[in-house]
């Protein structure tokens, strides 16, 4: 059993039980996640590390409701995501999960403000643009609202992406190598910002990274190898943040 979770006092934000996932078909089918059991407490920051191909991003996608497990149970923000159909899952994501990608994935035809407003608009918020503007101001881009992604630096783009992920006030924030496409200094700024927002809002935070130092800033580090959670001792079990 690959169980390294700390038993939380209240219901966990994310709970995975014996999750298996294979991708591809026929001869190319690869068993990526193998019997993964993991619990992440509300408000906890968890760093997911491991070598390339170990299944970090896939595990993140399962947590974000972007990928369905072949077997096992996945409960996120109190919701058994295995029971949701495609559309319910999309709505659930829009509401409960904020995602930050390595390549930002801003919509190039939309301004910074519109990019941040999109998830709010999709959820039907009537004050989408006011809230988007507040989120952008909070990440220091209050004067960049009308800029298109192409007019922003990499760091600024990632800030917009962070504002977009946090705009609907999700219970969970997941980030997939958010500094991978940034230089060191800019990466550090973004990471600081993410941890600051996580602390302010008590958002559950799951961070996939190659960087052990970055992972070490989390409450807990979960190490993956060949699709399994390694039973190695976590560097920070006490819950001290940063």
């Amino acid at each position: 059993m690959n169980d390294v979770s700390v038993k939380p006092a209240v219901a966990p934000a994310i709970a995975l039980t014996r999750v298996n996932l294979s991708l591809g078909g026929g001869a190319a089918r690869v068993h990526i996640l193998k019997d993964v059991t993991l619990e992440i407490a509300r408000g906890e920051a968890v760093g997911l590390i491991g070598p390339s191909g170990s299944g970090k991003s896939t595990l993140l996608m399962v947590m974000a409701g972007l990928e369905r497990a072949d077997s096992g149970a996945v409960t996120v923000a109190g919701q058994d995501v295995g029971r949701l159909d495609e559309d319910a899952l999309a709505r659930f994501r829009g509401r409960e999960v904020g995602i930050v990608f390595q390549s930002f994935h801003l919509i190039p035809t939309m301004t910074a403000l519109e990019n941040v407003a999109v998830p709010l608009e999709l959820a039907g918020a009537s004050d989408a643009f006011e809230r988007a503007a507040r989120e952008l101001a909070a990440v220091g881009l209050g004067d960049r609202l009308a800029h298109y992604p192409a007019q922003l630096s990499g760091g600024e783009q990632q800030r917009v992406a962070l504002a977009r992920a946090l705009a609907p006030a999700p219970a969970i924030l997941v980030a997939d190598e958010p500094t991978g496409n940034l230089d060191e200094a800019t990466g550090r700024e973004i990471v600081d910002l993410m941890f600051a927002r996580h602390a302010e809002r008590n958002t559950t935070f799951v961070l996939v990274t190659h960087d052990p130092n970055l992972a070490a800033r989390c409450d807990r580090v979960v190490r993956l190898r060949s699709g399994r959670v390694e039973p190695a001792a976590a560097p920070a079990l006490s819950g001290t943040r940063r």
Binding site: G25, S57, T58, L60, M61, A64, L66, E67, E86, D87, A90, R91, R93, G94, R95, I99, F101, S103, H105, L106, I107, P108, T109, M110, E114, V118, P119, L120, E121, L122, A123, G124, A125, S126, R164, P168, A169, D176
Partner: protein, 856 residues
Amino acid sequence: MTSILADAPAVRRRQLALRLALRELRAGLRGFGVFIACIALGVAAIAGVGSFAQSLVDGLAREGQVILGGDLAFSLIQREATPPELSFLSRQGEVSVAATLRAMARTADGRATLVELKAVDAAYPLYGAVDTDPAAPLGDLLARRGDAYGAIVDPALLARLDLEPGARITIGQASFELRAALVTEPDKLAGGIGFGPRLMVSEEALRATGLLQPGSLVRWHYRLRLPAGAGEDTVKRVTESAAMQLPDAGWDIRTRANATPQIARNVERFTQYLTLVGLTALLVGGVGVANSTRYFLDRKRDVIATMKALGATGTRVFAIYFTQVMLLAAIGVAVGLAVGALAPYAIAAALKTLLPLPLAPSVHPLQLLAALAYGLLTAAAFSLWPLGRVHDVPVSALFRDEIAPQRRFPRLRYAIAALLAALALTVLAVMAAYDRRMAVIFVVAALAVFALLRLVAAGLMAIARRAPRLRSTMWRLAIANIHRPGALTPTVVLSLGLGLALLVTVLEIDANLRREFVQALPERAPSFFFLDIQGADADRFDAFVHAQAPRASLDRVPMLRGRIVAARGVKAADLKPRPDAQWVLHSDRGITFTGDVPQGSRVVEGRWWGRDYNGPPLLSFEKKLAEGLGLKIGDQVTVNVLGRNVTATIANLRTVDWESLGINFVLVFSPGAFAGAPVTDIATVTFPGGGTPAEDAALLKAVGNTFPTVTAVPVRDAIDAVGQIVTNLVLAIRVASSVTLVAAVLVLGGALAAGHRHRVYDAVILKTLGATRRQLITAYVIEYLLLGLATVLFGVAAGSIAAWRVVADIMTLPFAWAGGPAVAASLVALAITLLFGLIGTFAALGRKPAAVLRNL
């Protein structure tokens, strides 16, 4: 948070889709050129054809009185109105009489030519005006001065006989002075096709010619001007009382609302063909729409996945992109409608002098609405399928570089929506058609060609996949390009194949019509038709022709004109003939009577009555037309000849060799059926192997001098007149078809441009690995040639088969495959494929590997 959890109302959801769609479109229309152009082109073609035709129909209706020459027109053939008929007419309003016939105009030095003679009274024209050059009152121009009557003449006659205004000619036994050139003849259209130039004289002058013999082929038109303000109910009342009070008059009654039923019908029918051609353009363009949509969505995969990651459902994403595509389609439709709406104005301005038709250019909302529906439905039918796939774009694409396998089929609901749009398009095409059977055939043929072309593409790819490994790298590369995933094969085959098939169809039909009407006159075709040979002159005429042209053969039969007034006891107006047989009832037909089976005819059902038959009237009917009218042996048919109704029983059915251009009749009666009626003969003179121009001219001159009242119609002239019309029609079809070709080229260009990125990548990698530019070009040339050749083979085959069916079944003409146009079209198609393909390739070859590799 709960405030944003609530489901937004439907209206808000739709607004959001529109808002997000508009936001996305801010990036500009790059990449949508082909999409918009394809829709615009098809819509412009359909809207243009529809608007032009409607302008023409409106023009014909508005000018009804002028074209008809009155509020009502009563036409009689071979006889004048009787006193009771005249008194009936003059009780209704003002009457004007005009007579038309074909006659020979002769110059003092003996040259002769056929003219369309029109004799008018003092009241002519009741509506409109005759314009002449020099302008002068009609009465003065036509009046008798000394021994000559005045005549107004089509300038073509002056040119043909090399005469100046003021010259003299003889017609029959009367002498005429050509006093003015005819510029506008208000009621010209009602006359139908003329085989010669118009010559207008007075009624008195016509009587002086001596051409008015019993049985002469003269049409008498009695035009009626109703009291001012008479409405349609008065027109109807006059028509009804004419039928009631004079049931046996046998006249053809036309009203101002239906002045030129033949032209109106032809306009409608021709409009349908052109609309179908326009629809083909739209369908070819549909391939471009589907391609553009697919490339667009490929480019948008990341954005779509991001939207889904942010909480957009598959349905929502579909709505956003469907809205975008339909907005783009609306741009194309708007451009097309603008062009189409302006078409009547442009054509009216450009062809003002050439077009002998009254055009009332205006904007026709109904026609534009139909074109709009065609455009939007085509866009929907062709884009819904690829759009449906966005529902299932996986968000995982954002995390992995893997190429997620694309779903081949969209979800059922999108497939059904696409099919419904296609069905709506079909229903619209069929419902709007004049001849629905034709429209259904078109739809089925279009579907079959689409399916076949997909099969051809699939087959080509399968063959390429299974091809043995060749030693030449370039051949291997070329063949691999034909079958690799995402290959251009299906698009090239579909767009080029469809365009080429249509082009070959049109070219083959064109070639066959030309051969039939213009070029190769059958060797056994006569040189002349001689009309109005009086019975008393018949033997003298025979002897004269034999003496003048000893090597020519002469065929002479009696001819009358008559109209079918009833069949099977049903009135002609109430018969419901097949569309291809309607013309038999539309006006009077030439009829004959004989004891022998006519030349060129073969009895295929029933028995011929024999030379000595002497019983009640029997009738021999042309088989196809009899079937079209629902007639069989034993049925009774009543024809009105010279104001008398004659009823005969169908004794047999014949097939007729129309192409012989001999004297062929739909209706042949037994001897004695018209005993006592004044009959003239019609004769053909045929030189074996065709007459030389000198022989033709000599005979024409000799007959003209000796038999001034006999009219000679040179077959060559008649054929030329018909050929001219055919040429114009074919030209219109060609113009419409060229729209389809432009669409095909657009689609092809779009597809090859979209494949360009792939080409650059291939070229750069291969160059990095040591391929020379020559090797690469060779590989691409081989690929495009193979693709082009396969498509050309299919296109030519499909086009030839389609042309064969149209020529043989619809036009009922013999079909002969013309290699020249097909080969020319094929070469053009191959050249276009190579050119478009290589334009992209040259650009690819010019790239420096390092620059590209850095950006890969």
